[in-house]
């Protein structure tokens, strides 16, 4: 089949992003200019997001077997590009004083975004792998980016190596699993794996399940689900904050969209044992994540652990999707992903605004008395943390509400119990941070948040806060949109 011009229109966001990468590269080639590169990136991503948003209402086409550009994928394209843009903005002030070539960082960021876009709109293993690897490759780079600055930080290197090795291993597992599925079904598209035609003896259900588990493990690693989560805190801690943010938001969301599409398409949940596997992983993630975070003193690691738990919560909705009629669980996943992206972007954002490539403020004590030093920043941070804890008035609660609802409809009592216990534990470490910010101010100002230095970052924070509270108090529009797009899964 050949690609017509008409097919290119749905790919507009992807093309715009790619274009941005090219343009950025050329400008760098012509003249190194940090500001310019940043601006190009940001504008490019903005256009990508806008174009996606523009296409969204009336686009639903399968562009080549590899990519499906429906409202769902476009929605996540918007979310991805927007988040990437925000991260780019955060990065600007963060990297400003890096004594090394700063421009390529934005290249990596854009390319990673390309990968993410491909992933969210892939319903074919090839595109999945392409997107995933594009994403991962550039993330290796982003994680290791400040690796050879004059004042060497050892951590980026360690983080990057760990991430690279383990992630490559995971890709290997994923690929092997895909290969088995392919051998079983004879197609690389996301297709049903149950009662496949002309099954040969030996390649029975057990074989299929093995294949599915392999694929699932590969994905679970990227989502840092227990017991494949151990890399997460180290990589989060070692990576520069913007990279961490990227990893925590887009990296997770894109992967989860793939998982969702795959599970829905492959009807994998018809195997009870597979449901059991997912439930176990969910339980393990929720408990492990929350317990690990309890007394953690590094902010990044806390958020890393909490992300493990949150991915566990999401899996509950995935499991539920098999039992409930209607798209409630898909909506649950979607809205929770959006909520999660908003709040973790916000939480990391605050840290990013406070920190810079020379010195990151990662210890929770660094934020002692923030409420009285910088009420605004503290307010944002608190809102984000409460949202992560799932307290009303925030979008985080709406997400949790959906997951509860899906769980109840599917009657997954045990998983719900785990969810409650987990959230209960979770409250402790989120409040620990909040309380730390409430403490009386120490004499010397730990760090200054010069509003002037990064007004744009603050603007982003405002925007995120508005989204957080807005969708928390009046979620109807968001829900309506997600209800419609979820029908495409």
């Amino acid at each position: 089949m050949d690609i017509t011009l008409a097919d290119l229109i749905p790919l507009l966001p992807l093309l715009v992003t790619t274009g941005t990468a090219v343009v950025a590269m050329i400008t760098i080639g012509i003249k190194r200019d940090y500001g310019l590169t940043a601006v190009i990136t940001i504008i490019g991503l903005l256009f990508a997001a806008l174009s996606a948003a523009y296409l969204m209402p009336n686009t639903n086409s399968q562009v080549t077997p590899l990519m499906v550009v429906d409202q769902y994928s476009l929605f996540f394209t918007v979310v991805t590009c927007a988040t990437a843009m925000f991260i780019a903005i955060f990065s600007y002030s963060y990297l400003a004083n890096l004594d090394d070539h700063k421009e390529e960082y934005y290249l990596l960021l854009v390319i990673a975004t390309i990968g993410a876009i491909v992933m969210v709109s892939s319903n074919h293993f090839v595109s999945t792998i392409l997107g995933l690897e594009t994403l991962s490759m550039s993330l290796y780079g982003m994680v290791a980016y400040p690796v050879h600055v004059k004042k060497p930080l050892k951590f980026p290197l360690e983080a990057s190596v760990k991430y690279l090795v383990l992630s490559a291993a995971a890709s290997g597992i994923l690929l092997f699993g895909i290969a088995l599925i392919y051998a079983q079904t004879g197609t690389l598209e996301f297709a049903s794996v149950v009662n496949v035609p002309n099954i040969t003896e030996g390649l029975d259900d057990g074989f299929t399940i093995t294949a599915l588990v392999l694929v699932f493990v590969g994905i679970a690693f990227k989502l840092s689900l227990a017991p494949f989560h151990m890399w997460t805190p180290d990589v989060y801690e070692g990576a520069p904050l913007p990279a961490t943010t990227y990893l925590a938001t887009i990296g997770k969301a894109a992967m989860f969209v793939v998982l969702l599409r795959l599970i829905e398409a492959s009807e994998a949940l018809t195997f009870n044992s597979f449901i059991l596997v997912i439930s176990l992983v969910a339980t393990a993630s929720i408990l492990a994540g929350n317990l690990l975070a309890l007394f953690q003193r590094s902010l990044k690691r806390v958020l890393a652990y909490s992300s493990i738990a949150h991915m566990g919560y999401l899996l509950i909705a995935v499991v539920a999707s098999y039992f409930v009629q209607g798209s409630i669980s898909v909506e649950a996943v979607t809205i929770y992903l959006v909520a999660y992206m908003i709040m973790s972007a916000g939480a990391f954002g605050v840290a990013t605004v406070a920190s810079s490539s020379e010195q990151e403020f990662d210890r929770i004590e660094d934020y002692k008395g923030l409420f009285w030093r910088s009420p605004w920043l503290a307010a944002v941070f608190t809102a984000m943390l409460l949202s992560l804890a799932g307290i009303p008035l925030t979008v985080g609660f709406i997400g949790k509400f959906y997951i509860f609802f899906a769980g109840v409809e599917a009657a997954l009592w045990i998983l719900l119990a785990v969810l409650i216990v987990g959230s209960g534990i979770g409250l402790y470490y989120y409040l620990r941070i909040v309380y730390c910010m409430l403490l009386a101010v120490d004499v010397e100002q730990k760090f200054d948040i010069a509003l002037g230095r990064n007004i744009s970052s603050h603007a982003v924070l405002v925007f995120l806060l508005v989204l957080l509270i807005g969708f928390g108090v009046y979620p109807a529009p968001l829900m309506a949109m997600i209800e419609t797009i979820s029908t495409y899964i």
Partner: protein
């Protein structure tokens, strides 16, 4: 519409109070006071309002989240109005108690105070269970801040404990609410969180018990009742005075309100079969916590435990579920709201003056602060159920009604009256009787109640005497509501009995 105003005014007032701090550190408390008084005035208009069908004096129902047909549905009937008035009244009192005590970051303090009150008003008026849960959680956060910022030596622990207890049990309730909504979906084809819709949901069998328990645990944690009470002593002893006043006076009542409005009417038969256990818990709370209270040396902890003990009468009354018992429960809520608030203010006042809560260091204060002594004496004997004061009406009616429902448990609970006298008089003895010695603390600030303080206490004293001598003016408000509730639940139970 007025209900929206009631809540909105508080939210706005809170924000204004916060901002006004920049202009002048004394503005916040003024603004807060004005706001709450304004609310109180608005409420008084509710008293005049002509009740509509079902006895709702005011209601507003606006679509909010169509996806789950969740609506912004507030409504108030006699029961709600009583509690609204209590809330506003104690709100004023609380602001008064904080007037001099809160010096640092007053703006943020009054912001939290007003938002807590707003949340409570929401809880007392929300008739959409999602909205109810929403407010239920919303009122916790500012309370958390109040304890965590302006609390005493062990505030972090206390605030954390308070928050986690109420949150976790709150999630249980959320699950129950969702199950109800889902049942409604199965039976009527659409999800609904509307109170009246959910009343019609038929949840039979063991599941009903489980759903009911979700509500029960959430409410009895807030109430609180044994065995979910242990957050309360810490929260109370650590919270600033105003915080304790709000907690003891109002927040605990939301639990009781929840039992009356939701837990029992939504699950009549489950509650019927569960009543013996609930009443047993109540009896245990009454006696056990009275005993523990007697053992305390920290005066605020002591009062906190007595609160648990007194709220036991509420649980007892609610699950006896007849008119006398329910009226008793409500009167107890109101009267205890005032008396406990007053006692916490007095304890806070003492702590403010001598910087200790340890009763072992006190003694012979009568000679030093006679006015305070008399006031404490009054509220103590009110708390131990002296006829002629509000608490007596409540506890007497509660027991009277409970006696019809379950004689043995009522008899056991009645011993609470004896225990109450034991610990109340013990406090008087320890703190005010005996020879005055100030060896343990510096008494340079141990001055008698100021005139402003006397005004607060006077109003509360009058309130209690009014409740005690002419409770009719309160009973009349709640009576129609209770009669409706009772009759409707009985109908359902009878239908079940027939099938």
């Amino acid at each position: 519409m007025i209900l929206v105003w009631l809540i909105g005014v508080l939210f706005l007032g809170g924000i204004i109070a916060w901002l006004s701090e920049r202009l002048n550190p004394n503005y916040p408390r003024l603004i807060a006071l004005i706001t709450v008084l304004l609310d109180l005035v608005l409420m008084l208009t509710l008293l005049g309002a002509e009740p509509a069908i079902g006895g709702w004096v005011a209601a507003i129902d606006a679509p909010w989240i169509p996806r789950f047909s969740i609506s912004f549905y507030l409504a108030a009937d006699g029961l709600s109005v009583l509690l609204l008035l209590l809330t506003a009244f104690l709100g004023v009192i609380a602001i008064g108690s904080a007037w001099d005590e809160i010096k640092v970051r007053a703006g943020f303090f009054y912001f939290n105070l007003l938002w807590t009150l707003a949340g409570v008003l929401g809880v007392f008026t929300a008739l959409d269970l999602f909205l109810f849960f929403f407010f239920w959680e919303v009122m916790l956060i500012p309370m958390y801040f109040i304890i965590a910022i302006w609390g005493h030596e062990n505030k972090n622990y206390a605030a954390m404990k308070f928050f986690i207890f109420t949150q976790v049990t709150g999630m249980l309730m959320l699950v129950s609410i969702l199950m109800l909504a889902y049942f409604h979906y199965l039976q009527n084809g659409f999800v609904s969180f509307n109170y009246h819709d959910l009343l019609t949901v038929e949840t039979r069998g063991p599941l009903e018990m489980w759903i009911m328990l979700g509500f029960f645990i959430a409410f009895t944690t807030k109430l609180p009742s044994v065995p979910f009470h242990s957050w309360l002593p810490d929260a109370h002893s650590q919270a600033p005075t105003a915080g304790s006043v709000i907690l003891a006076g109002i927040l605990l009542k939301t639990g009781a309100y929840g039992l009356i409005r939701f837990a029992v009417p939504l699950f009549p038969e489950a509650s019927k079969s569960f009543a013996p256990f609930a009443m047993t818990l109540a009896a245990i709370s009454i006696l056990y916590c009275a005993k523990v209270a007697f053992a305390q040396t920290d005066i605020k902890r002591l009062i906190a435990y007595t609160s648990v003990s007194h709220m036991g009468f509420v649980t007892l009354g609610v699950y006896a579920w007849n008119e006398q018992a329910l009226q008793g429960a409500i009167m107890t809520m109101l009267a205890h709201g005032i008396s406990a608030a007053a006692l916490f203010m007095l304890a806070g006042g003492l702590q403010h003056r001598i910087h200790t809560r340890n009763m072992l260091d006190m003694g012979g204060f009568w000679a030093k602060v006679p006015r305070m002594a008399v006031v404490v004496l009054f509220f103590s004997i009110a708390a131990l159920g002296m006829p002629g004061l509000g608490n007596f009406i409540g506890e007497f009616l509660a027991l009277l009604g409970a006696f019809r429902a379950n004689i043995p448990l009522t008899v056991i609970s009645a011993f609470g009256l004896i225990f109450a006298s034991v610990y109340s008089l013990w406090v008087i003895q320890k703190v005010f009787h005996g020879e005055y010695t100030n060896s343990e603390f510096d008494d340079s600030h141990l001055t008698d109640l100021t005139h402003r303080e006397m005004v607060y206490y006077a109003t509360m004293i009058i309130g209690l005497i009014w409740m005690g001598m002419y409770p009719q003016s309160f009973l009349a408000l709640s009576q129609p509501v209770l009669l409706d509730l009772i009759s409707s639940t009985e109908e359902i139970v009878n239908i079940v009995v027939q099938n």
